[in-house]
């Protein structure tokens, strides 16, 4: 091994990583603040979006005529580029978090509505049919059969939604909503590479951790409903703890 190889393969990356860690350490309190802001926006959004989406999903499962229009609307929402949507909402809601939260709620509707709808109507059609034949009213069917069976699928939708929310919330920092996007934009503005890289990693980790956590809940719900799951280690441990 020549000296140059050692330098490029080992020393340089280590130096770079040390630099990033250094940035992380010196700005950890700010990063933490931004992470909390980011989580805050995410939480507020999901607290509005989830009941709304589930309600709409349930509505269209009962009132068939509404299926196409509502799913179409929710789908269209998803295609509108985020910055464009923020731009369109600013005249109405000003800058800061309100337009971002409204936009995020709209973006997260499709996965939640769609998954609620599929969960309620398609998960175990034989059970729904049996419920009808045994004499359950619409409401009883929903309450006792359809909703419990739909929970894992709804959770998958929530998971999908959270990932979308975390991602787009980052862009919302541009119009003053706060969150990790602040550091990203500052990093780009001031050509501060360390800032960009470290923030990107933190942001991605946030999304991944939330996705994984919700994935575990999804698997637990599936298991409770009698589906075959390939439990990861963590899920196995949780199952033992719960039962």
């Amino acid at each position: 091994m020549s000296l140059t190889t050692v330098a490029t393969d080992w020393i340089l990356p280590t130096v770079v990583i040390i630099e990033y860690l250094d940035f992380f350490r010196s700005n950890s309190s700010q990063l933490l603040r931004l992470v909390l802001q980011h989580i805050n926006i995410t939480l507020i959004t999901i607290m509005i979006a989830l009941p709304m989406g589930v309600a709409l999903g349930t509505f269209i499962s009962v009132y068939k005529w509404a299926q196409t229009p509502i799913l179409w609307l929710a789908g269209i929402m998803q295609t509108v580029p985020s910055i464009a949507l923020f731009g369109l909402l600013i005249p109405v809601l000003g800058i800061g978090s309100p337009p971002v939260i409204v936009a995020l709620v709209l973006y997260s509707q499709l996965p939640i509505i769609r998954n609620t709808f599929i969960g309620l109507t398609q998960v175990n059609e034989a059970a729904i049919e049996a419920g009808r034949g045994l004499g359950m009213s619409q409401r009883e069917r929903l309450q006792r059969v359809q909703i419990p069976m739909a929970l894992p699928v709804i959770m998958a939708g929530v998971r999908n939604a959270i990932v979308i929310i975390v991602g787009i919330a980052a862009i919302g920092a541009f119009i003053g909503a706060g969150g990790l996007g602040d550091f990203l934009f500052e990093g780009i503005r001031e050509r501060y590479v360390d800032m960009i890289v470290v923030t990107t990693v933190v942001l991605s980790l946030l999304a991944l951790i939330l996705d994984y956590g919700l994935g575990v809940s999804e698997r637990l719900l599936r298991a409770r409903n009698g589906e075959d799951i390939n439990p990861t280690q963590f899920t196995r441990v949780l199952q033992k703890v719960i039962s």
Partner: protein
């Protein structure tokens, strides 16, 4: 009285397909009527008219004397047991919770529900202590359908609707459940409507059979009548070319056996086949079993034994007579 009556019932779907046309017959209380025919013949549609999962376009369906259109749909369904091919157990509920569904809907007390639950699980040969708290995913196909049947019986219905209930099971389990269900029928006096596409299952399970051909009922008779006097070529074909042999299936030995002439004959009969008393028939065996044993042991007559005593005999000639269709 007639628990169920169909009067000139026709069902046409929105897209114009005629599911059933001018169907009329009555189902006596406590009997099992099998609706049979090829795919799409209207048998399931007819059955669903009884618990109003479908409504007729023309004609009337009577349930215990009332026009079903005038009864409350939900209440009606709670009084009618319903078993389907896919079983449709609630995966997120235990066996106990599944079976208790209708009693819960009817607001029975905790204790009454529990008693009924235990009673039914015992009936289905699934010890409550062991099976109560299990989940459908832990059960085999046959066990699941047994739970399905228990669930349908839980509310003490007067009528049970069964739509190809054993269709999703393997042949061995299917046969076992058919036999168990026949035994069950003797213990409960529920009126049963049973849909199947298998003529063999129909002949085995039914007190009366309604044969459907593209929406119309072409024959409604006992199994024996259908085998002896099929009304038209469709029924003949549907029953199958081995109609003669099938008649053996549905005739029991005790209906055709003759009394042995003298006591000495008893000894001779018992001695038939090297005094091997295992070569006997019981009165409830079918003549098919009789023929099969005669062939196996290469004899022309067999004694019929009930509780250790010889009560009669069956000869090969008698068996052949039964098998002849007299066409």
């Amino acid at each position: 009285m007639n628990t169920i009556e169909f009067e000139g019932v026709t069902k046409v779907y929105d897209d114009g397909t005629v599911a059933i046309e001018d169907v009329s017959y009555s189902v006596e209380s406590g009997t099992t009527t099998v609706l049979v025919g090829p795919s799409g013949c209207g048998k399931t549609t007819t059955m669903k008219l009884v618990n109003r999962l479908e409504d007729p376009s023309e004609g009337t369906v009577y349930y215990e004397g009332d026009d079903v259109q005038e009864l409350d749909r939900i209440e009606l369904r709670r009084d009618v047991g319903y078993v389907i091919q896919e079983i449709g157990l609630f995966d997120h509920m235990t066996v106990a919770e599944n079976v208790a569904t209708v009693p819960e809907l009817k607001d029975w007390g905790r204790e009454r529900i529990n008693d009924r639950l235990n009673e039914l699980l015992e009936l289905m040969d699934m010890p409550p202590a062991e099976y109560r708290d299990q989940y459908p995913r832990e059960l085999s196909g046959g066990q699941r359908q047994r739970v399905g049947i228990a669930r349908a019986l839980a509310g003490e219905p007067d009528v049970m609707l069964m739509d190809e209930p054993f269709g999703a099971l393997d042949p061995i389990t299917r046969e076992n459940l058919q036999d168990e269900f026949l035994e069950l029928q003797q213990q409960i006096d529920t009126t049963i409507l049973f849909v199947t596409h298998s003529i063999d299952e129909a002949l085995k399970m039914g007190d009366k059979i309604a044969i459907y051909d593209v929406g119309k009922v072409v024959q409604y008779d006992t199994p024996q009548e259908i085998l002896e006097n099929p009304t038209n070529e469709f029924v003949e074909d549907f029953v199958g070319a081995d109609r003669g042999l099938k008649r053996l299936q549905v005739t029991q030995v005790e209906t055709i056996m003759t009394k042995p002439a003298e006591a000495s004959d008893t000894g001779a009969l018992a001695a038939d086949g090297n005094g091997n008393v295992a070569r006997v028939l019981s009165p409830t065996d079918s003549t098919q079993v009789a023929l099969s044993r005669m062939i196996q042991f290469d004899v022309t007559r067999l004694p019929v034994v009930d509780g250790g005593t010889v009560v009669g005999e069956v000869t090969k000639d008698t068996v052949y007579d039964i098998a002849q269709t007299g066409a």
